[in-house]
Structure formats: structure tokens, C-alpha cells
């Protein structure tokens, strides 16, 4: 019995592995994922430096806009600094951030503040893509002429055309009456947004100045906003506020669990498709009768499921090796974080439910797709039959995404008992360290529902493979059941 299962599994495995589609999937999936992850930062990095000018009789809007861009640069730099410091001790992290913040508040630029923070690694401040250009004594008409003619100007990024001009109009007492934003680029809204922010800031400053608060005092107040450090409850003394701070190590299991749940869904739906198409090939090529005099239906199904499981293991193994290679070779500032996630993902408390979930999910969904394939002669038929099923089966992904922020919610807990969702939501809840009774309950749900799915699948498969039961009969069944009722 085991021999025939192994022979079927081996044939299935070699059949898929020798197909070019498998290798394309093996290489393109992580490549696509990497591109997807890198695209936002690549877009950021590839953003060209842009020049703008402010046409105004005074300098306050110009300065407010500079301040606005510097604030944004400070904000982005601080996020990057926190991420970069995620693997150092909380005390070192806190010290470095404090030094940075103090330096910035004292008037240092983000890059100067970073240089003063005594970091264990070199770091650059977040880039600023908009640079002001001084153009004196030009009228609005002349500025518009410059913008449309493509005239270039010297600046921090060499010769560039003018991206936009901000024309400030004032009344007789010098108050701003309106501001025109003139640019040939109608898509990029970053400078528009910065201008709005700068005008709001200016308005606030002017109001506070009229109340006797100086501009420097306002800026210092902004820079003195204390940092928020997130901590978990622990045994630290009231004065020891550096321990129990929530670090990447604490968050890693949740991120890893979510990643595993999504990866599990993707993997299951990538490989069960092989089962569907493989079974359709057997049915359409009339292979069943030859096979069924050599191997039982149960062994045939078991062999096919095992073969595709081996395929999944190969995919996972290859992707894991690629991830390790990438982890060892990508930028040193990112790799400690990657290792932190990897360590969390390989924690037995997570990996055991993940493996159990994968096995149950794969068997359950695999059996369903096998049965489906046995009823169809063509991919088109399978698509017609599978569409409502696929819609149903995408539910787990939506639930997983919805559960990202709050895996402990009652809704997620309730949904985790729905057999189709259990394999995914069980993994998502694993970092919460659920009670033993819940773990046992989930395992039982998976065992019972998977067994039931396989049992049904064997029967449907037999009906399709042996008796030729197919779309025609299904259509007739639904017509008899529902159209007759509708007529009645």
C-alpha cells in the first residue's frame, strides 16, 4: 500500500518539478515579493531632487516652508533611527534618541543631530527632495514663462528646471491675502502639501507671537515633545524605566505569525492548483481506469496529496535558503531585524502550530480541489465550478488581514473555530499563548474537519473518476433541486 502511494507521489512530484512553470514560480515568487517590498523605498530613492521658488515680498513663507521640510526630514530620520536601533539594548537606544532629539532641538540639522548621537553604525538622514531657489525681482508672468520654457537653475543637485513657484500675494498692511501654487506638474502633491503645512505653521506662529510667544519658543516647544517609549508590564522598579521596553523581539512573533499565516494561504493556494489541473489531466486523458486496476482510489488520492506536499516542501526549502542567503547578504542595518523575525518564526511555540495548520489546511483544501478536478474535463469547467468555491476560500485571507491589528479580538477567536479558517487563525493566535484547551480544541477541529473533507473527497473523486460523474450531472442535479422548487 505504502509503495503504491509513494510511486504515485513520486510521479506527481517529478512531473511538476520537471515543468518549467514550477521553476518560474520558485524564482519569480520571492523575486516578486522582494520587488514588492523594495519598490516603495526604490521609488523614494529614485525621486529626483526638485527646485522651487517663493515669490514674496517677505521671507516668512520661505522660512516656514524650509522649516516644514526640515520637520519632515526629522520625522523620517527618527523613524529610520528607531528601526536601526531596534536590535541594540533599550538603554543605548534611549540614549541615542535623546542625544539626537536634543541636538535637533538646539538647531542642528537632522544629519548633524545623527552625527552627534554616537551611533554604533554610520547613518544618513532621510533625503530632502525639494530645494528652494532664490529668483529675485521676477513678475508672475515672467515666472510662468520660466516654468513653461524649461529654464534651468544651479542648486544643490546641479542644474535643474524649476518644479514650482509659490507666489504669495499680500494686502496693503503686509498680511497674506492669497497664495498661488504654479507648477507644470499636476500630479506630485508633496510641495503643495508642504506649502499648506507651512502656511498653517506660519498662521500659528503669528497668532502666538501676537500673544507674546516668540518663534524660537514655539520651535523649542515643538522640539521638546517627549518621546513615547512603549513598555510591557514587568518587575522593574519605578525608577528603572529602561527595562521591559517593547522591542522588535517582542513584536517579532506577531509579525512572524501574520507572515506565516499569509504565506500558508499563498502556499496552499499555489500548490492545490497543481492538484486540480493534474486531476483534470487524468480525467480528460482517460487515465483513471488504467490506474485504478493498479492502485486503490484512497492510495491514489494519498499519493497525489503527498506528491504535491513534497512539492510544497521543496518550494518552502528553496525559499528558506533564498531568505537565508538574502539575510546574510543584505545591508547590515536590516539583517539583524530579519534575523529577529526569523528567530521568532522558528520558535517551537509558533512553528509547531504553523506546521500543524499547514498540514491540515493543505489536506483539507487539497482534498476539496482533488474532488473538484475529478468532476471536470477541462480547465474551463473547473473554473466555472471553482469560482464560488474560490470566493469562499479567499475568506481566510481577508480574516487574517483584518485580524492583523487585533488577533485577541472576540471576533477572531470565534472565527478561529470555523474549520476552513482554523489553520490560519490558529497560527495568528499562537503568539498570544492561548490556553491549552484552545490549542487542543483547534487541533481537534482540524483533525475532524480534515478527515471529513478527505472522506467526502474520496467519494466525489470515485464518482467522477469511476462513474464519469461530471458537470452535466451537476447541472442536472441543481436544475432538479432548485429550478423545480422555483417552478413549484
Amino acid at each position: 500500500m505504502l509503495r503504491s502511494i509513494w510511486l504515485v507521489a513520486r510521479r506527481e512530484y517529478l512531473g511538476y518539478v520537471s515543468a518549467i512553470g514550477f521553476w518560474l514560480g520558485l524564482i519569480l515568487t520571492p523575486l516578486g515579493l522582494a520587488v514588492g517590498l523594495l519598490v516603495p523605498s526604490l521609488i523614494m530613492q529614485a525621486q529626483p531632487a526638485r527646485y522651487y521658488t517663493v515669490i514674496d515680498s517677505r521671507d516668512d513663507v520661505y522660512e516656514a516652508l524650509n522649516w516644514q521640510f526640515e520637520s519632515w526630514q526629522n520625522f523620517d530620520t527618527k523613524i529610520a533611527l528607531r528601526q536601526a536601533l531596534s536590535t541594540v539594548t533599550p538603554a543605548k537606544k534611549r540614549r541615542a534618541i535623546s542625544v539626537y532629539e536634543k541636538a535637533f532641538a538646539d538647531g542642528a540639522s537632522p544629519q548633524e543631530a545623527l552625527d552627534q548621537a554616537d551611533l554604533p553604525f554610520p547613518m544618513e538622514a532621510a533625503p530632502v527632495t525639494f530645494h528652494p531657489i532664490r529668483i529675485k525681482n521676477e513678475s508672475v508672468d515672467e515666472i510662468e514663462q520660466i516654468l513653461s520654457s524649461g529654464q534651468t537653475f544651479d542648486g544643490p543637485s546641479g542644474k535643474q528646471t524649476l518644479f514650482a513657484a509659490i507666489v504669495v500675494k499680500r494686502d496693503q498692511v503686509g498680511d497674506i491675502s492669497s497664495v498661488d501654487y504654479i507648477s507644470p506638474d499636476i500630479v506630485n502633491g508633496e510641495l503643495r502639501q508642504a506649502t499648506t503645512g507651512a502656511l498653517k505653521y506660519l498662521s500659528r506662529i503669528q497668532l502666538l507671537e501676537s500673544a507674546g510667544v516668540t518663534t524660537d519658543e514655539v520651535r523649542n516647544a515643538d522640539a521638546d515633545i517627549p518621546s513615547l517609549f512603549v513598555r510591557k508590564p514587568g518587575t522593574n522598579t519605578p525608577n528603572d524605566n529602561q527595562s521591559n521596553e517593547v522591542t522588535l523581539t517582542d513584536r517579532a512573533p506577531f509579525v512572524a505569525a501574520t507572515s506565516i499565516a499569509i504565506a500558508l494561504w499563498l502556499l496552499i493556494f499555489s500548490v492545490v492548483n497543481f492538484l486540480l489541473t493534474g486531476t483534470i489531466e487524468e480525467r480528460s486523458n482517460k487515465i483513471f481506469d488504467s490506474l485504478l486496476t493498479s492502485v486503490s482510489v484512497t492510495n491514489l488520492l494519498a499519493g497525489k496529496l503527498l506528491g504535491v506536499l513534497m512539492l510544497s516542501a521543496t518550494l518552502l526549502g528553496a525559499w528558506l535558503l533564498m531568505a537565508i542567503w538574502a539575510g546574510l547578504n543584505i545591508d547590515s542595518a536590516i539583517s539583524p531585524a530579519a534575523w529577529e523575525f526569523a528567530r521568532a518564526a522558528l520558535d517551537p511555540a509558533l512553528i509547531v502550530p504553523a506546521l500543524a495548520g499547514f498540514l491540515a489546511g493543505y489536506l483539507m483544501y487539497g482534498a476539496i480541489f482533488l474532488a473538484l478536478g475529478a468532476l471536470c474535463d477541462t480547465i474551463q469547467e473547473a473554473q466555472a465550478l471553482a469560482t464560488p468555491l474560490i470566493l469562499l476560500l479567499t475568506t481566510p485571507l481577508f480574516i487574517v488581514i483584518m485580524a492583523l491589528q487585533n488577533p485577541a479580538s472576540g471576533f477572531v477567536f470565534t472565527m478561529s473555530w470555523v474549520p476552513l479558517l482554523t489553520p490560519f487563525l490558529m497560527i495568528l493566535r499562537a503568539p498570544l499563548e492561548p490556553p491549552l484547551i484552545e490549542i487542543i480544541g483547534h487541533l481537534l477541529v482540524m483533525i475532524v474537519s480534515t478527515s471529513f473533507a478527505v472522506w467526502c473527497s474520496i467519494r466525489v473523486y470515485r464518482a467522477g473518476a469511476v462513474n464519469g460523474f461530471g458537470m452535466k450531472e451537476i447541472t442536472a442535479f441543481f436544475k432538479t433541486k432548485f429550478l423545480k422548487k422555483a417552478k413549484d
Binding site: L7, R11, N285, T293, V466, N467
Partner: protein
């Protein structure tokens, strides 16, 4: 009354087997057996229930009534390993090589990898597919692919070979090759059952025939027994005005005058069951008939087939 125990020496036996689809009997109370070493022709028109009977015999379909035995036991994977089955609806994994698929079927039947590969190579070489050893099934012609499937059926040297319509789809050369292959397997000691529409194949190959129509068995016996179902006829030509009709009437034979030409008079004699053409010839000679030619006509299997299931064929056409 208890039915007798199945004979372990009999490769295949169906006992009163019935199968119903949507309430209609596809096979109704069919019984037959294939004794060891025999070539059994399983004949019947389209939809007669041949494939259903064979699938029941192999345990692919469970009979709704009656029993099927292989080597004295209900069909199971153990005794099915002794069977080679070529189904009517044929197909192979299109992406596998000819060598790979023959070896795969061999291993499913219990052969080890090395032996199955050696045997696949040997069979492909021997039956004219040596150049296609590494070809994929999708690259072969339909006839070649069918040949590969036949080889895959025989790779493990089965004791019982069941071929469902093996000649359909093959050109005359390949049909001849297949006949040769069947004879070789028979000489090896295998029991062979095949269904066919081509009576000539059955006539040339079979020891015994089972004919079914509308799911019921119509005939089970040797070729000679089948032939004897339709009486023989004979044509005799005589010189001059000799009255053969009167001469043979005295011996109990009925003859009919056909025509007269430059060769003399021509007579047609219809024989009854059990009467043979040489008996007529002897009676004519004894009566002093000036015979110029004598042509006996033995019934053909096609005539037997039509006489047994001809109505089914008509019904099928009407339907």
C-alpha cells in the same frame, strides 16, 4: 443453494453479474469465465455492456448483483497485480516519456525500478518504438501512443490480459502487430480476453467467444459452436440437363435451381443444422450427378454476430 467455490485456477469469472445505471440494466445477470490459457473473444455491439462487464470483473465498478472473481478471489490489488488491463477509453500522462510511463505502470504492478526500465526498453525496441524511448507521449502519433499503452499493459507479464477494443484506432500494420503480440502472450501462457467489433480478429485469434447484447449474454462457446448456429450452404454446377434437385431430394437435401449458362446448370443447396457440405457432395456423386464445380459456403462469424445481436444494432440505429 450455495454456489460453488470459485476456482483459483480460473483467471476470471463473472457470476450472474448485473449493473444498473439510472435504474436501467447496463449488464443483466451475465455469467462467463475465462479458463486458464484461453483466448476469449468478448463481442457485442456498442452499448451492449462489454466495458461495464469488464470493469466489474476487475473491481473498478462494483456489481449491483452477482459476483466477480479473479483467480478465485474477489478483485483486490494483490490479484489485480496479475492482470494487465487496456481500457476502452485510453490515455496516458502526456508529459511522460514512453520509457517512463511503461516503467511506471510496471512498478505500480509490483516490478522493481531497474527491471521495469529494462523491460520497457526491451519492449519498445522489439515493437518498433526503439527510436521513441525518450519521446514524450505528447510527441507521438495516436497509434504510437496506443501501442505504448498496450506495452504498458503487458510490461509486468500478467497472467490475465484484458484488452477492451484493442484494435480500434490502429492501422492495418499495427493491427497485425497486435495480433502477433496477442499470440506471443498466449504462447507465454497468459489468458487473454479482448473485446472487438472486428470479427476477423476474433475468428483468427479466439478459442472461445462470449457474445452479449443489451446487457445479456447471447452466446458462450467455441468458434465452431458459433459457426454451427448458422447452417452451411453449397453451390453445385452440373452438365447437361441433369436434375440435381430430384436426385438430392431422395437423400433428404433441398436444392434450388439457380441458373443455366455455358458451364451448365447451377444449383444452390441450403443445409440444415448438423448437415455438412461434404455430405451433399457425396449424395450428388452417389446419384451420378455430372458435377463440374462444387463450392461449399461456411457461415462467417459476422453472420453469427448479426443473427445474435442484429436486432440490437437496428434498435441502436433507430435510437
Amino acid at each position: 443453494m450455495n454456489s460453488p467455490l470459485p476456482d483459483t485456477q480460473t483467471p476470471l469469472e463473472l457470476r450472474c453479474a448485473s449493473k444498473f445505471f439510472k435504474g436501467k440494466a447496463a449488464v443483466n445477470q451475465v455469467s462467463f469465465s475465462a479458463p486458464k490459457g484461453e483466448i476469449l473473444g468478448f463481442l457485442g455491439p456498442n452499448g451492449a455492456g462489454k466495458s461495464t462487464s469488464l470493469r466489474m470483473a476487475l473491481g473498478v465498478l462494483a456489481p449491483d448483483d452477482g459476483e466477480a472473481y479473479l483467480f478465485g478471489e474477489k478483485p483486490n490489488l494483490k490479484n489485480l497485480h496479475r492482470v494487465g488491463f487496456l481500457p476502452e477509453e485510453r490515455g496516458l500522462y502526456r508529459k511522460m516519456t514512453t520509457r517512463g510511463i511503461i516503467s511506471y505502470y510496471g512498478r505500480l504492478k509490483g516490478m522493481d525500478r531497474k527491471t521495469s526500465l529494462l523491460r520497457a526498453d526491451e519492449m519498445l525496441e522489439r515493437y518498433g518504438l526503439g527510436k521513441q524511448i525518450k519521446s514524450k507521449i505528447s510527441d507521438l502519433s495516436k497509434g504510437m501512443a496506443q501501442k505504448v499503452q498496450i506495452l504498458a499493459t503487458l510490461v509486468h507479464k500478467p497472467d490475465l490480459i484484458i484488452l477492451d477494443e484493442p484494435f480500434s484506432g490502429l492501422d492495418p500494420v499495427n493491427q497485425h502487430d497486435l495480433e502477433m503480440l496477442i499470440r506471443e502472450e498466449h504462447e507465454r501462457g497468459a489468458t487473454i480476453i479482448f473485446s472487438t467489433h472486428v470479427m476477423e480478429h476474433a475468428e483468427r485469434l479466439c478459442d472461445r467467444l462470449v457474445i452479449i447484447g443489451k446487457g445479456e449474454k447471447r452466446f458462450d462457446g467455441t468458434i465452431d459452436e458459433a459457426m454451427s448456429l448458422i447452417p452451411e450452404t453449397a453451390d453445385i454446377s452440373t452438365e447437361g440437363d441433369f436434375d440435381l434437385h430430384a436426385a438430392l431430394e431422395k437423400s433428404g437435401f433441398t436444392s434450388e435451381y439457380d441458373k443455366t449458362d455455358e458451364n451448365g446448370k447451377h444449383w444452390r443447396i441450403d443445409l440444415s443444422h448438423g448437415e455438412r457440405a461434404q455430405d451433399v457432395l457425396r449424395a450428388a456423386i452417389n446419384a451420378g450427378a455430372p458435377i463440374t464445380s462444387f463450392t461449399p459456403h461456411r457461415a462467417k462469424l459476422r453472420d453469427v454476430f448479426v443473427s445474435l445481436v442484429g436486432e440490437d444494432l437496428n434498435d441502436e440505429e433507430t435510437a
